[in-house]
Amino acid sequence: MQAITIQEQDNDFRAEVERRSGQSMVECYQCGNCTAGCPFDFAYDLPVSKIMRLVQLGQREIVLSCHSIWLCASCKTCTTRCPNSIDVAKIMDVLRHMARESGHIKERTVKAFEDSFLASVKKTGRLHEVGVALGYEMRTGRFLTDIDLVQTMVSKGKLSIKPHSMHNSDQVAEIFKRFNGGIHE
Amino acid sequence: MPPSNDLKDGGELRIIGFLCNWCSYSGADAAGVARLEQPTDLRIIRTPCTGRIDPLFILRALINGADGVLVSGCHPGDCHYVEGNFHARRRLETLKRILPISGIDPERFKYTWVSASESGRWQETVREFTAKIHALGPAPRMTDVVSRSKDLSLEGLLLQDENGGA
């Protein structure tokens, strides 16, 4: 196990997480309640309370390169039960943003799904489920994902090959364009 | 009259402190015991409680030509008399709002909480406040303020606010 040199901790990292999440990291007293209730803990490489600790210790690399921050489903169980009322789920969100920005992509399929989802929305203004699936498959090369569902959905009339129509879908595309233009921080 | 009333020739300004006996006055004593060096401008008046401090004392000091007034007492919730500092807080907040009307720079007045054990905090408070008053410089002549305060009947204003009772 690697040793952490405490004086070399990255306090800017901790400060950035605090600023972007609006949460105060010192308030976490490591009770573990967030880990205890997290439904995704079994799939995590770092339990969420450990992530909280490592942010306190300014461990940017370890935190941003973990899988857990990609597997958090924002179910907010942790936020609801934290005895210090810390919005832990929001911190997980912010960490994923930071990982994205810095190119730490530990769950390619998760990122691919998010990207295809947003690409679909950008293109048509509304979510087009076939579009997402296709986009996802293109991005990951996992071509038969959910193929078993398609048949059921088609037979139940739940899947349209064409996106659901809205006019002015370009307004939505604009939102994405401006966003990519880096107007926000 | 001894010459000491003309404070300004030593580079000192006239700063008056109103301190409650139980917390801040003891805190100031503790700072002395610990030899925590402070600027010499401040003159302290001891009161049993910040609740005894009439905003009019402060107004009077400022009108009379004090360059700064510092009030300090027990932290909220710690008052020796249970709720005296809550009364003080309400009254002093009112005073703060009224000072600008009377032409007095509200920056010349400050109130704060220092407990008996916070000698370091007291030293900091005195240093900071004295530095601030020096940055503001000597207070302007208050002749017109005096007449204005009469016009506005400041005393009435202050008392009105207090009428809420406890």
Binding site: N33, T35 | D29
Partner: protein, 656 residues
């Protein structure tokens, strides 16, 4: 006026950075100062003598000493001037040591500051008046409110020293929580074996009068002379006659009455004696469950009672008691954990509180000391304890540590093993707080000898799964989620001040901290005093305390009362508020503002409304002085004139 000024060198403490002779010389020029000098050590024997000599020689009627802090020697010098025949309040101090010589380095500036401070003291003194204290008698009788172990200890210690004691207990028996416990840490001795004899002593002590099923309605008066109204609740039994034979309880048909003594895990009869060792051992009818009182038909108890003491018409009675001091020992209540919906919110039968578990462990409890879980009466095998439930949880408004739950949880884990040798206990904890003699060894023993498994982490949720409870938690040391299939879960619920404490605080004019526990006079130096003279604290009403500390506090509070009662008479502090009747218009704003209820709505001879201060109750805060729109109520020794004189001494009114 003839004022003398004495400037102290304090060896070199002052004279090192203040020019004392020059200061004394300058002081001589202040108005009314007829004599001024400097002294090496003013507080020393010769220093005090020189003050006395100067008062006589120069006919002084006021003295200013410029030396250390008045918090140091004001009392000393007041006695000095009094010895010379002066009124002790015709004395002022200028603090030129703590506030000048010790904090300023520039001698010239220090000297000037010292002169200013003397000028202020002289100005204040010129506006001062002589003040006189009053002497008053003390009622040598102590009231103890709350009959838990802390109150019992206070009552017994005071009574043993010969003081009359009145013990007021809200429940129908004394004993408090300790009476419900099975065994106690760290010695694991039987709780009732230790407490029982003390309770009997209370009942038999000739100096103790016990009012059970009673509460304090109102308190008036002041230290040495309190008048207390005690409400004796209707119990529907004439306690003077009741022998505690228990015949009534055997025959009472209303058997589904909730039993608070057993923490509601069992039922009792509408007429009941809470437990066999109850003191007083008297029967009480619960009016909400008595068939006679609710439906008008039954009266069985009245028929069987051999002494005919049942009285369905009984009413509350108010009695007035005069006492000189009061010890408050009202203890605590348990945190209502039903806000934790994720722990079943009190709806899962096999999730119980620590105190309920004590009743299950207790041989005189509803299961006769067999640990049987509530849902199906089976013996549990896997028992999970969860610590800090409702403690150290800001999100539930409980930031504080309840202080003894780590220890009693360890105790309960040990007792579980001795009751059920095949069982396994698991303890979820955040920290183990065991600071006391033998305490940490105790929690170690729990693990090493009794095999309790300690898991560091909180529990997120508990849910029923078949006949087990699934406890989902974390082990933060292993860094993993953990799950336990438990048969019984015991919550170490935190504590909070006894219900209605807030009201009692208002009645007694004492304050409570932000968590509602009564506030001590000083956290280190006056742990059992309050800021109201003559009112003392013992046990958990002041904060979470285990039994040894509660007992120490009981003894300490009794000792403080004895100190008070060692005086035949007490002397009042004359630095109190006084009303100038000619200025007072009777608006009573001051009455509403005084935090201590020291001002009365009174009248003068012509029936005009006037405020009147009760000098024995007034604490001298001066809050009223600022409130009065007419300057009619003034705090002696800190009058408007005195304080303004100080202001004017530094900043004279500008001439326009």
């Amino acid at each position: 006026m003839h004022i003398g000024v004495f400037v102290c060198h304090c060896g070199s403490n002052i004279s090192g950075t203040v020019d004392c002779p020059q200061t004394a010389k300058a002081a001589g020029e202040f108005p009314d100062v007829v004599y001024s000098t400097d002294e090496m050590y003013t507080c020393s024997e010769p220093g005090q003598e020189s003050i006395i000599r100067a008062i006589k020689e120069h006919n002084l009627d006021g003295v200013v000493v410029a030396s250390c802090s008045p918090r140091m020697h004001e009392a000393t010098f007041r006695r000095t001037v009094e010895r010379a025949g002066l009124n002790p309040y015709m004395f002022e101090m200028a603090n030129i040591r703590e506030h000048v010589s010790w904090v300023g380095r520039d001698k010239a500036l220090n000297t000037r500051k010292a002169i200013d401070l003397i000028g202020m003291a002289v100005a204040k003194l010129r506006n001062g008046t002589p003040l006189f204290s009053e002497r008053f008698n003390v009622t040598r009788k102590l009231m103890v409110i709350g009959g838990g172990v802390a109150g019992i200890q206070a009552a017994l210690d005071a009574a043993d020293s010969g003081i009359e004691v009145v013990l007021v207990e809200r429940e129908t028996t004394i004993g408090g929580k300790m009476a419900k416990l099975d065994k106690t840490f760290p010695t694991i001795d039987c709780s009732s074996c230790v407490l029982g004899p003390k309770m009997v002593e209370v009942a038999q002590h000739p100096k103790i009068t016990l009012y059970a099923a009673s509460e304090v309605d109102n308190v008036s008066g002041y230290v040495g002379n309190f008048t207390v109204q005690v409400r004796k609740r209707a119990v529907y039994v004439d306690w003077d006659a009741c022998t505690g034979c228990g015949l009534c309880t055997e025959k009472c048909p209303s058997r589904k009455t909730p039993d608070p003594f057993n923490e509601l895990i069992a039922t009792t009869t509408a007429i009941n004696i809470p437990f066999p060792q109850a003191i007083p051992k008297k029967a009480t009818i619960n009016p909400d469950y008595c068939l006679q009182l609710t439906k008008g038909k039954c009266g069985v108890c009245a028929k069987v009672c051999p002494v005919g003491c049942i009285d369905f018409e009984q009413q509350d009675k108010i009695e007035e008691v005069q006492v000189g001091a009061i010890v408050v020992a009202t203890g605590y209540d348990l945190f209502d954990y039903s806000v934790y919906k994720q722990y079943g919110a009190g709806k899962l039968p096999d999730v119980i509180t620590s105190l309920q578990y004590e009743r299950l462990l207790n041989a005189s409890g509803p299961t006769g000391g067999h640990v049987l879980r509530p849902s199906d009466g089976a013996e549990p095998k896997h028992v999970v304890f969860i610590q800090c439930v409702g403690s150290r949880d800001k999100s539930k408004g409980r930031a504080y540590c309840s202080s003894f739950c780590c220890m009693y949880t360890a105790k309960q884990a040990i007792l579980t093993k001795s009751h059920l040798p095949d069982s396994q206990s698991y303890v979820f904890y955040m920290d183990i707080r065991s600071p006391g003699k033998g305490y940490d060894e105790f929690t170690r023993r729990t693990q090493e000898l009794y095999g309790a498994q300690y898991i560091r982490g909180r529990v997120s949720s508990i849910h029923q799964h078949g006949s087990s409870l699934v406890v989902r938690g974390a082990d933060t040391l292993a860094g993993m989620q953990v799950e336990i299939k438990a048969d019984l879960v015991v919550l170490a619920v935190g504590i909070e001040p006894s219900r209605n404490s807030q009201k009692l605080a208002a009645t007694l004019h004492i304050s409570a901290d932000t968590d509602g526990f009564f506030m001590e006079g000083h956290p280190k130096l006056k742990p059992v005093e309050t800021n109201t003279a003559g009112v003392f604290l013992a046990g958990c009403c002041q904060g979470p305390r285990d039994i040894p500390t509660s007992v120490s506090m009981g003894s300490a509070a009794a000792a403080k009362a004895m100190v008070l009662f060692s005086n035949e008479q007490l002397e009042s502090d004359p630095q109190v508020a006084t009303v100038n009747a000619t200025r007072c218009v009777g608006c009573y704003k001051c009455v509403k503002t005084c935090p201590f209820g020291a001002i009365l709505e009174s009248e003068d001879r012509w029936k005009n409304p006037k405020a009147e201060v009760l000098p024995t109750i007034c604490k001298g805060c001066g809050i009223c002085s600022v409130t009065c729109p007419h300057g009619a109520i003034q705090l002696n020794h800190f009058t408007d004139n005195q304080l303004l004189a100080e202001v004017n001494a530094i900043c004279p009114l500008p001439t326009i």
